[in-house]
Amino acid sequence: MRMPDPDREVLARRERIVDDLRAIVPGEGLIAAEDARRVYETDGLTAYRQMPLVVVLPETTAQVSAVLKYCHQHRIKIVPRGAGTSLSGGALPLADGVLLGLGKFNRILEIDYANRCVITQPGVTNLAITQAVQHKGFYYAPDPSSQIACTIGGNVAENSGGVHCLKYGLTTNNVLGLEMVLITGEIIRLGGMHLDSEGYDLLGVMTGSEGLLGVVTEVTVRILQKPETARAVLVGFPSNEDAGKCVADIIQAGIIPGGMEMMDRPAIHAAEEFVQAGYPLEAEALLIIELDGPAVEVDHLIERVVEISNGNRANSCRVSQSEDERLVFWAGRKAAFPAVGRISPDYLCMDGTIPRKRLPEVLNGMAELSRHYGLRVANVFHAGDGNLHPLILFDANDPDELARAEKFGADILRLCVKVGGVLTGEHGVGIEKRDLMPEMFSEADLNQQQRLKCAFDAEGLLNPGKVFPVLHRCAELGRMVVRGGKLPHADLPRF
């Protein structure tokens, strides 16, 4: 993975830069010592490591603004970071870049039940928002699996999802407003407690921009009343095709479950060995379908889901009879990653999305790739929205296995794109999928996205090396070639 060449001049000025930044963020908010900096050398994509030039942990928006302004003036790169749980390397440091940690922005600023929203600093964890409002029956809907650790600022940067996206949306559908700092140090606000931000939807652009456009210093999210009840159905199928068809039939019947997860045979076995959730070991595919809402609605819809399942050759079907049992059904799915971790020294977690009906074809393709690369793969799948998480099993101590695993992963994502899907459903591009972007986008598509980047950050100082495989200077991207003045297609109707 090639990162932009470090700027030697910046490296040579390191001491001066550290002193200048210390004047902005004094005391323990600046980390220059090598052993203390090492904590920040990687994120959730641990295969890649890089020591940052210096780590800065500001506490106020004014400090963030001053740091950005300073870096802008002196052409120093910046890598923003929340809790560092990114699975795509979004917070991988740069040797010549300031690592800007938002961890000290850890306060919830306002809870407004009348307007059903929470205003929070970006370093607050996803789960802490729910914990702050749950005594009133509220919660914050997006629930990425890292929710105990990941921050809301990181969620905004990555547009994080979770298992309830189909019904409740991703981060972008649950964020109402932002305060952010531009690379120039200017502070702007987008949206707020009202719906729809005025002018261009820059709130939508910022969400999922992976730290390349600005630094978020405050977030307004909407909160929802927790559904009164939830029940889950655990259904085993003799084939992936049957399970896929069942999912399509449920949606065709007008039912949008709160969660609908699928696991393939290797994932079922790994999970069952690990947590003994009572998963059917003879099944080729397993669905966990959760309905939430008032009990009367859940009971009504569960009956229909059971009918539909039986109509699709389900060979086992259990409906949770208690909250404990529902949690047991989920325990296996939630432990799927560590369960796979138990049967293999290492695993790579991929994140493509496909049109659901292409699932059997994609799973067959993966089985073929698995044979080709000589590596095992287990699949968990957000079946409702088509988001696949293949887990590739390998041993990182064998460099050849790591290389094969990465190639295998790239081939899986190519396959996703080939069937009409995308490279990433919720983990982000980061460095992990950066070089695969041309599989999905033409050069013109990518250049247009980079021009949008230029509107925010003309010098390319914010998180360079992420998302885009080839970096162009903004001046070069801005150049226009207008073809001659003669009217083409004189036969076009003009009236």
Binding site: A114, R116, G386, G420, V422, A455
Partner: protein, 391 residues
């Protein structure tokens, strides 16, 4: 005025390239139903996108539809309705308000980021857009997003197209998420509440677990003499019955319930702004504010202006009409907003030339918006000045 009507992407590229070479700005249009939205423009030609009107993909089981930007909203509604589906954000048909012939096109709906009563639960057009393809103001074809419902690959450029009033790109195809239509609906009606009481009741309803999917209030003047607060419940019948009883228990006020058919008609009237459609000589504003502040905003305006209004989105959306005058009371309306924004939806060309139609932005944000415009349309060839001066 010249009208250019390309039917293929290649022809569209040529048209834009030619306009760039001749430095002639273009007014983007679908079927022209929203021509009166936004600031008046000086353009040399119309770029008519109604030729891009085919549905290239509709897969109900995948919850996805791809159609041309020029496809008629009414036809798309009909198509998905036959499969029991809909756009969950309830795009309005503003034809009665704007005096146009029909609801317009998909492209127009996206360009104005329109949404209806269910916005407060299901989001706006921007929350349901999955992908776009089109030609930038640089005369280059591009695409962004995808056709699956969960995608974070690259910047969310499709969202940027929502509410961009055709100032960034001429779209050819748009991919939207569609969702199952609710099996049934009912509306709980509370009568005789003041605006304050109504906003408080709607807030309480929204804070409950009753999953209210529409919360509107018509003050007495627009409701035949008795104010009506409307709370919609959608879903399967046993669930609606349960939530209705629960909601009545929470609100404990005089009420009656209207059944599915009348409920549907009532919410179409709210969605399409029928209560203010009659006063064609008056200017209509659309205010988006924190919901709990709705009644405070109108109370302040009522002191100064001859205004009529009603609320949607539990108080967060205020439709208000005022005498047109020279400036449609723009400064009074915007001064009263602590947070949020006001958009002039119906106003004469003279008024729309005289006052900012969209909420003015602070200097840093306005400058950023101009840079975003330049990233897609550096020569200002698409709908110049439609949103703000220079954008």
């Amino acid at each position: 005025m010249t009208s250019l009507r390309p039917e293929t992407e290649t022809d569209l590229v040529d048209v834009v390239q030619n306009a760039l070479a001749e430095k002639t700005p273009l007014e983007l249009t679908g079927t022209g139903t929203k021509k009166a939205l936004g600031r008046p423009m000086q353009t040399a030609a119309t770029l008519d996108l109604s030729g891009f009107d085919t549905v290239s993909l509709y897969e109900p089981e995948e919850l996805v539809i791809t159609a041309g930007a020029g496809a008629r909203l009414a036809e798309i509604r009909h198509l998905v309705s036959a499969k029991g589906q809909e756009f969950a954000f309830e795009p309005p048909d503003l034809s009665r308000l704007l005096g146009s012939e029909h609801a317009g096109t998909l492209g127009g709906m996206l360009a104005c980021n329109l949404s209806g009563p269910r916005r407060l639960k299901a989001g706006a057009a921007r929350d349901h857009i999955l992908g776009v393809a089109g030609v930038s103001g640089r005369g280059e074809a591009f695409k962004a997003g995808g056709r699956v419902v969960k995608n974070v690959t690259g910047y969310d450029v499709p969202k940027l197209m929502a509410g961009s009033f055709g100032t960034l790109a001429a779209l050819t195809t748009i991919t939207f998420k569609v969702l199952p239509r609710a099996e049934s609906e009912e509306t709980l009606v509370l009568e005789g509440l003041t605006d304050d009481e109504a906003v408080a009741a709607m807030s309480l309803a929204m804070q409950s677990s009753c999953e209210v999917s529409g919360a509107a209030h018509l003050p007495s003047g627009l409701a035949g003499g008795t104010a009506k607060t409307l709370l919609r419940l959608e879903g399967v019948p046993p669930s609606i019955a349960y939530r209705r009883d629960k909601l009545i228990g929470i609100l404990g006020k005089a009420h009656h319930v209207i059944g599915p058919e009348d409920s549907r008609a009532q919410w179409i009237a709210i969605r399409d702004v029928h209560p203010l459609a009659d006063g064609q000589d008056r200017s209509v504003w659309r205010l988006s504010v924190p919901p709990a502040e709705g009644a405070r905003v109108t109370a302040a305006l009522a002191l100064e202006l001859d205004a009529r209004w009603f609320y949607d989105w539990a108080g967060g959306l205020i439709w208000i009409d005022v005498p047109a005058g020279a400036d449609a009371a723009a400064s009074a309306i915007r001064t009263g907003l602590r947070e949020g924004h006001a958009t002039l939806i119906r106003g004469s060309e003279a008024v729309r030339a005289a006052v900012p139609v969209l909420q003015p932005q602070g200097p840093a944000l306005a400058a950023l918006a101009r840079r975003v415009k330049a990233a897609f349309d550096p020569m200002g060839i698409f709908n110049p000045g439609r949103m703000q001066e220079g954008v």
